[in-house]
């Protein structure tokens, strides 16, 4: 049984200068393992959307990435406003992004649906006023 490789990343809310660096690091780790390009792309999109959600809405978050020969798992726990209606948030086009976020090219309401589309398993839990937790699993084989 192979020992999974795990790495955690701290994400700070509103830190747009470093936004995306965790996803970039995750991609580069998967590429160095020789993981199939199509899988890497799905992980990239899901990880990036999750990371950007945290940057845009949360105060702080920890993203934990773990890989075994069989699966890639990403979990993200944030301290932030939480999501009042998860079903609504999962709908394409629904967004609470501010004008400023939209100016930066975000807030099309595709973030969570995009994560779900690229994930094999996806769990989202949220508590208003406390924060949101995401669990994303993508099968390698």
């Amino acid at each position: 049984m192979a020992v999974p490789y795990t790495q955690s990343f701290d994400i700070r809310g509103r830190d747009f200068a470093h936004a995306g660096s965790a996803s970039t690091e995750i991609k580069s780790l998967l590429k160095s393992l020789g993981i199939n390009a199509a899988i890497v792309r799905r992980v990239a999109i899901a990880a990036y959307e999750a990371e950007m959600n945290a940057v845009m809405y949360a105060e702080r978050a920890t993203m934990t990435f773990s890989v075994t020969p069989d699966v890639v798992a990403i979990s993200l726990e944030d301290r932030g406003p939480g999501i009042a209606d998860i079903d609504l948030a999962m709908q394409e086009g629904w967004s609470t992004a501010t004008h400023e976020m939209r100016e930066m090219g975000f807030g099309a309401g595709m973030g969570l649906p995009n994560i779900k589309r690229n994930a094999d398993e996806f769990v989202i839990r949220s508590e208003v006023g406390k924060g949101t937790t995401l669990k994303i699993v993508i099968y390698i084989r």
Binding site: A2, G20, S23, S32, L33, G34, A38, P69, I140
Partner: protein
């Protein structure tokens, strides 16, 4: 060690005082050629005599070549100069650039393949995508380069006019960079045989300059025209397009940043991206002679003077496009990097080992080990290409431990000697 630090793909190591290029990671961008203080790294371009086997030789200079001379020297005078130094003929490439631009516009209008589409004309950028972004290969627009189109046409016309066989005609590209040179010469990179060889601008420049000044710079006006003349500068391709929402990017590090974004699913509303490995695009190629900013000024001057009249009728180009005249020859395959291990489980172990080693390293990226930074060094060690003691800090600690052990032994021995009353008792 300047080369090792400047390499955008970490493809250089210093071993026994000399630079070693890891060819599977090298994208031929030529940044190392630019910074080497000892001119130790130089690409092997061909020389004139290599083409003596051809009955008819045709020089096709990159339009960058036009911008190496004073602003009174016209593009046609440059072509005349090439003929004077011994080529049987010299043909313009800028006209092909303009035609290719029209083909790009046609492709953008007719295809809804994944956006943004990426220009495939900088071979270093194409290689970067092949090695590091195989996911983006289907974003490369499948259109042949102006160099290839110009070469193919020059050959075809010479065959008709002179009744020669294709193999008797040698087309030689005058190149601004090593990437174009290797794309012509090196078999795994080579996709077509339209161009038979390359000579660098730096090498041929003095001879052509002499030939031009001997003839008083005369060479006719106006034969070479069109917006294709602007292709060597950043944004030159975009200036030929009607499409909005396009970007022009120069430099590998900026290209990497944008490719990461595309891979993450961003920039889908961008239609086309012109990408160059050189920060100032082709005028900044490492085998040129003129300062790239001066050359840029000259290119813009030429565009102003000759750009407004198209080199060829648009409808005619569209018709050729429909007949696949511009279609890319061959597929561009991925060139995957060697993974840490063929077996993913063992690869995971190596990732753990890499992290453990990395935590023992100073993290100052000094390069004394011969790798560009501590992270790359840690990876080299787990791949078995270096040993941990190649790091001076680790070696020093090792030595300290050794000498401490030795000192302890000496102390213990002298204690023993003192207690037993000396070695002579």
């Amino acid at each position: 060690m300047a080369c090792m630090h400047v390499c955008p793909t970490q493809a250089i190591r210093v071993r026994r005082g000399a630079a070693l290029v890891l060819h599977d990671r090298c994208i031929d961008c030529g940044e190392c050629v630019r910074v080497c203080p000892n001119t130790a790294i130089h690409p092997r371009t061909s020389s004139f005599s290599d083409f003596s086997g051809f009955r008819h030789t045709i020089a096709i200079p990159s339009p960058v070549f036009y911008a190496q001379f004073g602003k009174d020297v016209t593009p046609s005078a440059v072509l005349q100069g090439l003929k004077k130094i011994g080529f049987d003929d010299a043909c313009d490439v800028a006209g092909a650039s303009e035609s290719v631009s029209i083909a790009i516009q046609e492709y953008l209008d007719a295809n809804d393949s994944p956006r943004p589409l990426i220009s495939p004309f900088c071979p270093a950028i194409v290689r970067l995508i092949q090695i590091r972004y195989p996911n983006l290969l289907n974003h490369l627009i499948p259109i042949e380069s102006p160099m290839a189109i110009a070469a193919r046409e020059a050959k075809r016309q010479a065959m008709q006019r002179l009744g020669l066989k294709e193999s008797e005609i040698g087309v030689i590209y005058i190149t601004p960079c090593p990437a174009k040179m290797l794309a012509v010469k090196d078999p795994p990179r080579r996709r077509h045989g339209f161009v038979n060889g390359t000579i660098s601008i730096a090498e041929i420049y003095p001879n052509v300059l002499r030939a031009i000044s001997e003839s008083g710079g005369a060479g006719g006006e106006g034969e070479i025209r069109g917006l294709g003349l602007g292709w060597p500068v950043l944004g030159g391709q975009l200036a030929c397009l009607k499409a909005q929402d396009c970007l022009a990017i120069g430099g590998v590090s900026d290209a990497v940043r944008v490719f990461e974004e595309i891979e993450n699913g961003k920039l889908r509303d961008i239609q086309y991206i012109e990408v160059h490995s050189c920060p100032t695009a082709c005028v900044g190629g490492s085998l040129t002679v003129e300062n790239s900013y001066i050359a840029r000024g000259r290119v813009l001057h030429m565009v102003q003077k000759y750009g407004s009249t198209p080199s060829r009728d648009r409808a005619e180009i569209r018709d050729l496009y429909q007949k696949n005249f511009f279609a890319l020859h061959g597929k561009i395959p991925p060139i995957p990097l060697q993974p840490l291990d063929e077996d993913v489980s063992r690869g995971l172990q190596k990732l753990h080992q890499k992290r453990e080693l990395y935590e023992r390293l100073p993290g100052i990226d000094c390069g004394a080990c011969g790798a560009p930074n501590c992270s790359v060094f840690a990876e080299d060690v787990v791949r078995g290409e270096a040993t941990a003691e190649d790091c001076v800090f680790i070696a020093m600690r090792h030595f300290e431990n050794l000498s401490a052990t030795l000192l302890d032994k000496v102390r213990a021995h002298s204690e023993k000697v003192r207690h037993t009353g000396g070695p002579t008792s």
